[in-house]
C-alpha cells in the first residue's frame, strides 16, 4: 500500500496558471512566417519546438520521436492537415498525442470533419496568443490525465501480475496439499472377508474438509468414520489431517476409539463415548473456530451388527438385499460446538447382501442447476438404480450421477462416502490364521 501511494503521490494535475511542464510541440505549416510566429510564442512558454513544412515531412519526424502535441495548419500543398492528422492517429505511439488544427474559418461542418479525423482542438487564424496558450493548457490537462491513467494502469497491471504469481504459488502449494490430503485415505477399498469397505472423497476445491476412513480393531471388529469439518478450505483441510491422527491408527495409543481389554485384546470403545471425548478434545485443546460432524461406526464382522453414533452427520442409508432402503438415526450435536455434549447410539443389523452407505451432507445438499437440493429422496433413487453395482464402482457411479444432477457446475461442497457391504460370515473365516484361504 505504501509503495502504491509513493508511486502515485507525485501525480497531481497542474493548476491552470502554474508553469507548464516541458512538452514537445511539432509545428506543421507550409508558411515559414506562420511557423516562426508560433515558435516564438511556444519557446517563450517553455515548449520544445520542432518544425515541419509539410504533412509528409511531419510524418517523417514523428517516425523519429513522439511530440506531445502537434499544431498543424489545415491548408497545405500535398498532404493537407486533415490527411496528416489521420495518418498521425494511425501511428503506433506510447502516449497520446494532442492534435490542434489551424483553420482560416471555423465553419461547423469543417470542425466536425476535423474532429472525425482525430483532431482534438482548433485554432482560427490569425492566431491569438492568449487563445493559443489557453488551448495548449487545455491540451496539457488532457495529456496529464492520460499520463496519470497510464501510470495507474501500469500499477494495476503490475499489481495483477504480482497477484497472479502469488496465486500461482498458492495454487501449486494447494496441488501438493491435495496429494497429501488424498494420502490420508491410503486405501479406497478393503476386503475384510465377510464385508467390503469402499471409500470415496471428492473435495470441492483442491483441499477439503471431508474425511472418510476405516481401521481394523480385531479379527472380527472394524471401525468406520466419516468426518465433515465446517467450511471446506485450507484450515478445514488441516483440521481433517489432525483428526485423522486421532482415528486412523490401529493401535490404542493413536486411536481414541480403541482400547485394550483385560485379556490384552483390542476392542472398540462405545462410539458415543468416543465422540464425547473428541468433543472435549476439540473444545479444550484445539484453538479453532471449526467444528465438525462425524459418524462413527463399530462393525462386528461376525454378526453384521453395526453400532453407530452420529454427531450432526446425515443419517446413514441402509439398503437391504431386497432393495428396500431406510434412512434413520437419532441425530446428534456436532463435535466442537457445545461443552459436555452427549451422544446416542443406534444400531443396524446387516444380513448377507445388505449394505450401509455413510455419507457427508455434500451429497444430499448438492443443488441442481435450478437450485433444488438432492435431499434424502434423491439419494434413495440413485442408490435404488445402483442396486446391482457394488464396491468402489458403486461409489464412482454415485458421484457420477451426482455430478449429472449438479449439471455444469462443480460441487459446492465436499462430497464423501463409505460403502459397507456385508456378505456374511462363513465358517472358513473362523478358521485359525494359518488355515485360512490365502485371499484373506
Amino acid at each position: 500500500m505504501s509503495n502504491a501511494q509513493a508511486k502515485t503521490s507525485g501525480v497531481s494535475r497542474n493548476p491552470v496558471l502554474a508553469p507548464l511542464p516541458t512538452r514537445s510541440v511539432l509545428v506543421v505549416d507550409d508558411s515559414r512566417m506562420q511557423r516562426k510566429l508560433l515558435k516564438a510564442s511556444l519557446a517563450r512558454w517553455g515548449y520544445e519546438v520542432t518544425e515541419a513544412d509539410s504533412g509528409q515531412s511531419a510524418l517523417e519526424i514523428c517516425a523519429e520521436f513522439e511530440p506531445d502535441m502537434v499544431i498543424s495548419d489545415w491548408m497545405m500543398p500535398g498532404m493537407d492537415g486533415l490527411q496528416f492528422c489521420k495518418a498521425f492517429r494511425a501511428l503506433e505511439r506510447e502516449n497520446y498525442g494532442y492534435f490542434i488544427l489551424l483553420t482560416s474559418k471555423s465553419e461547423k461542418d469543417e470542425v466536425a470533419k476535423g474532429l472525425d479525423n482525430g483532431a482534438d482542438d482548433f485554432l482560427t487564424k490569425p492566431v491569438n496568443s492568449a487563445e493559443l496558450r489557453a488551448r495548449l493548457t487545455a491540451g496539457d490537462r488532457i495529456l496529464e490525465m492520460q499520463r496519470e491513467l497510464t501510470e495507474k494502469n501500469r500499477l494495476i497491471k503490475s499489481t495483477l501480475d504480482e497477484l497472479q504469481s502469488l496465486y500461482d504459488s498458492i495454487d501449486s502449494d494447494l496441488v501438493e496439499a491435495k496429494k497429501l490430503q488424498q494420502s490420508l485415505i491410503r486405501e479406497r477399498h478393503r476386503d475384510f472377508g465377510s464385508a467390503q469397505v469402499s471409500l470415496a472423497l471428492h473435495s470441492s476445491g483442491h483441499v477439503g474438509g471431508d474425511l472418510v476412513g476405516f481401521y481394523r480393531i480385531s479379527k472380527t471388529r472394524i471401525g468406520l468414520y466419516a468426518i465433515d469439518v465446517s467450511g471446506h478450505g485450507i484450515s478445514s483441510a488441516l483440521m481433517t489431517a489432525r483428526l485423522a491422527g486421532y482415528l486412523s491408527s490401529t493401535v490404542p495409543e493413536h486411536n481414541v476409539a480403541i482400547e485394550e481389554g483385560p485379556d490384552g485384546c483390542l476392542r472398540p470403545l462405545p462410539p458415543a463415548k468416543v465422540i464425547s471425548y473428541l468433543n472435549y478434545l476439540v473444545l479444550e485443546e484445539m484453538e479453532t473456530e471449526h467444528y465438525f460432524t462425524l459418524l462413527l461406526a463399530d462393525v462386528d464382522l461376525e454378526t453384521g451388527r453395526v453400532r453407530m453414533a452420529q454427531a450432526g452427520q446425515p443419517h446413514p442409508l441402509l439398503q437391504r438385499a431386497d432393495g428396500t432402503i431406510q434412512q434413520e438415526g437419532p441425530g446428534g450435536l456436532p463435535v466442537g460446538l457445545i461443552h459436555g455434549a452427549e451422544y446416542e447410539e443406534f444400531e443396524a443389523r446387516l444380513n448377507p447382501g445388505d449394505r450401509l452407505l455413510i455419507f457427508s451432507d455434500g451429497i444430499v445438499e448438492c443443488p441442481s442447476p435450478e437450485g433444488r437440493l438432492l435431499e434424502e429422496k434423491g439419494l434413495e433413487g440413485m442408490m435404488r438404480n445402483l442396486h446391482e453395482t457394488t464396491g468402489t464402482a458403486a461409489l464412482e457411479a454415485l458421484i457420477w450421477k451426482l455430478s449429472e444432477y449438479a449439471g455444469e457446475q462443480d460441487f459446492p461442497d465436499d462430497v464423501s462416502a463409505i460403502l459397507l457391504e456385508y456378505q456374511g460370515f462363513s465358517d472358513t473365516q473362523n478358521l485359525p490364521e494359518h488355515q485360512k484361504p490365502s485371499n484373506i
Partner: protein
C-alpha cells in the same frame, strides 16, 4: 444480509432478511448479531422464517451468536423452514435452543 430488530418488553426479535446463512454470510451474521443484541434484553428470538438454507458455517455462526449473549441471556429460534428444520433436527439443536414454531408463538411464551 440484513437483520432487523424489534424490542418489546423482555423480548427482542431479530429477523434475518436473507435466504441463506452460509460460509459467505457467516462472519457478517455473527458481527451483526453482536451489534444488534448489544442491549441487555434477556430473551432474544431469532426469526429464521425467511432463511431457506443454513450450512455448517451458518450453524456455527448461530451457535456463536448464542455464546456471545453470555450465560444470563437466552437465544431462541423461531420459524424454521423445512430445510433448516431438517439440519437442526439432524444436529439436535433443540437440545441447545428453545425452538418456537413462529414469532407469534414465541411472543405468546414471553408475554407473561
Amino acid at each position: 444480509m440484513e437483520l432487523t430488530s424489534e424490542v418489546s418488553g423482555e423480548m427482542q426479535i431479530v429477523r434475518v432478511d436473507a435466504t441463506r446463512i452460509d460460509a459467505a454470510a457467516a462472519i457478517r451474521f455473527k458481527d451483526m448479531m453482536r451489534e444488534i443484541t448489544g442491549s441487555d434484553v434477556p430473551h432474544v428470538v431469532l426469526d429464521l422464517s425467511k432463511v431457506e438454507f443454513i450450512d455448517s458455517s451458518g450453524l456455527g455462526a448461530i451457535v456463536a451468536a448464542m455464546k456471545q449473549l453470555g450465560s444470563t441471556r437466552r437465544l431462541d429460534l423461531a420459524g424454521l423452514t423445512p430445510m433448516v428444520d431438517r439440519v437442526f433436527r439432524l444436529t439436535r439443536m433443540e437440545t441447545v435452543f428453545t425452538i418456537h414454531k413462529s414469532v407469534e408463538a414465541a411472543k405468546a411464551v414471553y408475554a407473561d
